[in-house]
C-alpha cells in the first residue's frame, strides 16, 4: 500500500515539474533557458570527447581535411567523357573507350550518388551514441565512462521526460482542437486555433529537445501562399509549425495519426485527401488551388520531394506543387547531425522505432532559413520553376542538388534517362570521325 502511495507522490511531483517548467512556458511562448543550459553542457562534453579521440588515434592526422559536405569515399575524376577518350584515342574506335566506362562502372558500384542519400549521413567525429559508432574504436577508460553516463542520462532521464511530454502534447492537441472546433467560424475561432496549434507544437519540440534557429523571419510565409521545404523526416512539419501556422496537406491515415487529422481539421482548414483522391492529380490540384485562392486561409505546407532524403542533398521536386499558382515561399531546413540524426530511413525503421531513436538522441538541432517569395515567370514552365526554387533552397542550406527523383529509393531508373546518356556517347563517337561516311547521315538527331 505504501509503495503505491509513494509512487503516486513521485508521479505527482513529476507532473508538477513538467507542467510548471515546460508546458506553461510553451503556452505563453517564453523560454526558461533550461534547454540552452543543457545544450551548453552537451557541446562542451562532445568537444572534450572529440579531443580525446584525436589524442587516442594512433596514426598521424592527414593534411587534407575532409569537409562535412564531401560526397563520399572515392575521388571521382571529373574529366568529361570526350576529353578522356580523346586522350586515349589512337586511330579508330578502340579498346580505349572500354576503359572509361569500366572505370565509371566501378566507381558507381563502390558508391553511387543516389543510394548514399538514402542512408544516414556519416559523422566526422563520434558523438557518443552507439548508433553512430562505425569508424571509431576503443580509446580510453574515461571516454567509456562518459559514454556510460550518457547512456544512463539518455535512457533513464531524457526518454521518460520526452515520452511524457509528447503524450501531453498530442493529447492537448486533440482535445484543444476538438474544443475549438465546436465554436462557430470567425475571428475568435481562428485566433484560438492558432494558439492551440502553436502551444502544442512548442510542447512537441521540447519533447524532442529541439533547438531551432530561424533566420530571415521577415520572409515568413503569408496567408494565401504555398510554403515548400526540403524533406528529411516527419518532424519537419513540427519544426515549421513551431514558428507559425500552416495548413497541412496530406493523405488520411488510420490510427493515432488519423485521430489527430480528424480533430485538427475541425479547428483549422487543413487539406486531407483520401487515398483514392490522391491518385487523381487534377482533383488534388483543384482543391489546392481553391484553398490558395482564398486569401484568408493559412499558407499550405508542401514537401515536393515526396520522400525523406538524408539532408545532404535536395532531390527532384515534383512539379505538381508548382502548377497550382500563387506565391511560393521556399524554406530550407538543415539539421545538425552531431546531436542527433533526424533522417527517417523508412525502409530500415518503422515510425515507432524511428521516434524512439529520435527521443534517445542528444537533441535535435536545426537551422531554418526563410527565403524570399518566388513567383513563376511568364516563360517558365512548372519544371523549370521547380528547379529554380530547388536551387535556391539547396544554396541556402548548403546542400547539393541532385537531378534524381526521390522515388528511386524504391523504383528503378526510367528508360528515358538512360537513352539520353547513351545517345550522348554515340553522338560523340560518330563525330570523332571514326565512321567518316556516316557522320552526315546521323547529323539529324
Amino acid at each position: 500500500m505504501e509503495v503505491v502511495w509513494a509512487l503516486g507522490q513521485v508521479g505527482a511531483v513529476w507532473m508538477a515539474v513538467v507542467l510548471g517548467l515546460i508546458v506553461l512556458p510553451s503556452a505563453l511562448g517564453i523560454s526558461l533557458g533550461i534547454s540552452e543550459a543543457y545544450m551548453w553542457v552537451l557541446v562542451k562534453t562532445l568537444e572534450w570527447a572529440t579531443i580525446r579521440l584525436q589524442k587516442g588515434a594512433k596514426k598521424p592526422q592527414p593534411q587534407v581535411p575532409r569537409t562535412p559536405s564531401a560526397t563520399g569515399i572515392i575521388e571521382r575524376d571529373e574529366t568529361p567523357m570526350e576529353k578522356e577518350i580523346a586522350l586515349l584515342h589512337r586511330a579508330d574506335f578502340e579498346f580505349s573507350h572500354i576503359f572509361y566506362f569500366c572505370r565509371k562502372g566501378m566507381e558507381a558500384i563502390v558508391e553511387d550518388e543516389v543510394t548514399q542519400r538514402f542512408s544516414s549521413e556519416e559523422l566526422l567525429s563520434w558523438n557518443l551514441l552507439t548508433r553512430t559508432n562505425v569508424n571509431f574504436h576503443y580509446i580510453s577508460l574515461r571516454l567509456t565512462v562518459v559514454w556510460v553516463i550518457g547512456v544512463v542520462v539518455r535512457y533513464c532521464i531524457l526518454l521518460p521526460l520526452r515520452v511524457s511530454l509528447a503524450a501531453i502534447g498530442i493529447t492537448s492537441m486533440i482535445v484543444g482542437t476538438t474544443v475549438v472546433g465546436q465554436l462557430p467560424n470567425g475571428r475568435v475561432k481562428n485566433y484560438l486555433s492558432e494558439v492551440v496549434h502553436l502551444t502544442c507544437s512548442r510542447i512537441l519540440v521540447r519533447a524532442l529537445s529541439g533547438t531551432i534557429h530561424y533566420h530571415n523571419k521577415e520572409n515568413r510565409p503569408q496567408k494565401g501562399g504555398i510554403c515548400v521545404a526540403n524533406h528529411t523526416s516527419p518532424i519537419d512539419a513540427i519544426i515549421l509549425t513551431n514558428d507559425g501556422c500552416y495548413a497541412m496537406v496530406g493523405q488520411v491515415h488510420g490510427g493515432l495519426m488519423g485521430i489527430i487529422q480528424r480533430a485538427t481539421v475541425k479547428a483549422c482548414p487543413h487539406v486531407w485527401f483520401e487515398r483514392s483522391e490522391m491518385k487523381d492529380r487534377h482533383l488534388v490540384t483543384k482543391r489546392l488551388r481553391e484553398h490558395v485562392a482564398d486569401k484568408s486561409k493559412l499558407p499550405i505546407l508542401i514537401f515536393p520531394e515526396g520522400t525523406c532524403i538524408n539532408n545532404t542533398s535536395v532531390m527532384m521536386f515534383k512539379k505538381g506543387s508548382f502548377e497550382i499558382g500563387g506565391t511560393i515561399y521556399p524554406v530550407a531546413i538543415k539539421y545538425d547531425p552531431q546531436f542527433g540524426d533526424a533522417f527517417w530511413n523508412s525502409s530500415k525503421y518503422n515510425i515507432v522505432s524511428y521516434l524512439l531513436r529520435i527521443m534517445t538522441s542528444w537533441a535535435i538541432v536545426c537551422n531554418v532559413w526563410y527565403l524570399p517569395p518566388m513567383l513563376r515567370k511568364e516563360d517558365e514552365d512548372a519544371v523549370q520553376f521547380a528547379n529554380r526554387v530547388r536551387s535556391a533552397i539547396a544554396r541556402q542550406g548548403g546542400l547539393t542538388e541532385l537531378p534524381w527523383d526521390g522515388g528511386l529509393k524504391r523504383a528503378k531508373v526510367k528508360d528515358t534517362f538512360k537513352e539520353e546518356q547513351q545517345k550522348n556517347y554515340s553522338k560523340m563517337l560518330v563525330r570523332n570521325g571514326s565512321v567518316g561516311s556516316l557522320s552526315a547521315e546521323t547529323e539529324s538527331d
Partner: protein, 214 residues
C-alpha cells in the same frame, strides 16, 4: 565499443592479399552489405539497385565480370552464381591505384592483371582469344543507346579496329591467312607503351577521423 564487422585477423589477411587498407575494406564491406541487403552473398540482380550504373552501356559486361570465375582467381571456368565479400574485394582489387613504393616487377604484374581483367571482358566465350564476333558484340553494346546508328556502322567500326589489331600483332598477312583472334600476348603488345594504369583505378579519399569541434 568499437566496430565489429569482421575479425581483425581475417581483415589483415584480406588487406595483405588485396592490397586495400583496413579502412577501405570496412567501407567496401558496408557497401557490400548495402548491395546485398545484409545477406552474405551478392547475385547479379543486386546490381540492379544502382541508378548510376544504369547509364553505363557496358553495364552487362561489368556485372558479368564480377561473376567470372577467371577473375575470381579460381581454377575452374565459367560463371559463379553468387559471390561473397572476399570475391567482391578480389574484383575490386583490380582497380587499386598504383602505390608509390612499387618496384618494376610489381608494376609490371599489376599492369598485366588489369589488362587481363579487360581481356576477359571481351573474351566472352572464355577460349583465350578475342574473335571478330566478340569484338563486334562489344561495339554494339557500346553503341546500343543510339537507335539511329545502324548495325552496319557498328560492324564496320569493329572490323576496322580488328584489322588494325591484326596489323600490330601479326604484321603483314598473306592472302590466305585468317586472323583467328587476339590472344592475350597480342593484347599486351597492343598496349605496350601506353599508360593504362592511371585510367583504370578508383582512388579512395583519406577517411581518417578528424577533430571537428562544433
Amino acid at each position: 565499443m568499437g566496430s565489429a564487422h569482421s575479425v581483425p585477423a581475417e581483415m589483415r589477411e584480406l588487406a595483405d592479399r588485396t592490397g586495400f587498407t583496413s579502412e577501405q575494406i570496412e567501407h567496401l564491406h558496408r557497401r557490400f552489405k548495402q548491395l546485398s541487403q545484409d545477406q552474405l552473398t551478392i547475385r547479379k540482380e543486386n546490381f540492379d539497385s544502382i541508378p548510376d550504373l544504369e547509364f553505363n552501356p557496358i553495364r552487362g559486361k561489368i556485372v558479368h565480370a564480377f561473376f567470372d570465375k577467371r577473375n575470381l582467381r579460381q581454377e575452374s571456368d565459367g560463371l559463379a552464381e553468387e559471390i561473397n565479400f572476399e570475391d567482391f574485394l578480389t574484383i575490386m582489387s583490380y582497380f587499386r591505384p598504383i602505390e608509390m613504393n612499387m618496384d618494376e616487377e610489381q608494376l609490371d604484374r599489376f599492369r598485366k592483371e588489369k589488362l587481363k581483367f579487360l581481356f576477359h571482358m571481351y573474351d566472352s566465350d572464355h577460349d583465350g582469344k578475342i574473335t571478330l564476333q566478340e569484338y563486334r558484340n562489344v561495339v554494339e553494346e557500346l553503341l546500343s543507346g543510339n537507335p539511329h546508328l545502324e548495325k552496319e556502322s557498328a560492324r564496320s567500326i569493329a572490323d576496322g579496329a580488328m584489322m588494325e589489331a591484326a596489323s600490330i600483332c601479326v604484321g603483314q598477312m598473306g592472302p590466305d591467312q585468317v586472323y583467328e583472334g587476339i590472344t592475350f600476348e597480342d593484347f599486351l603488345k597492343m598496349w605496350q607503351g601506353i599508360d593504362i594504369e592511371t585510367k583504370m583505378h578508383v582512388r579512395f579519399l583519406n577517411v581518417d577521423t578528424i577533430a571537428h569541434c562544433y
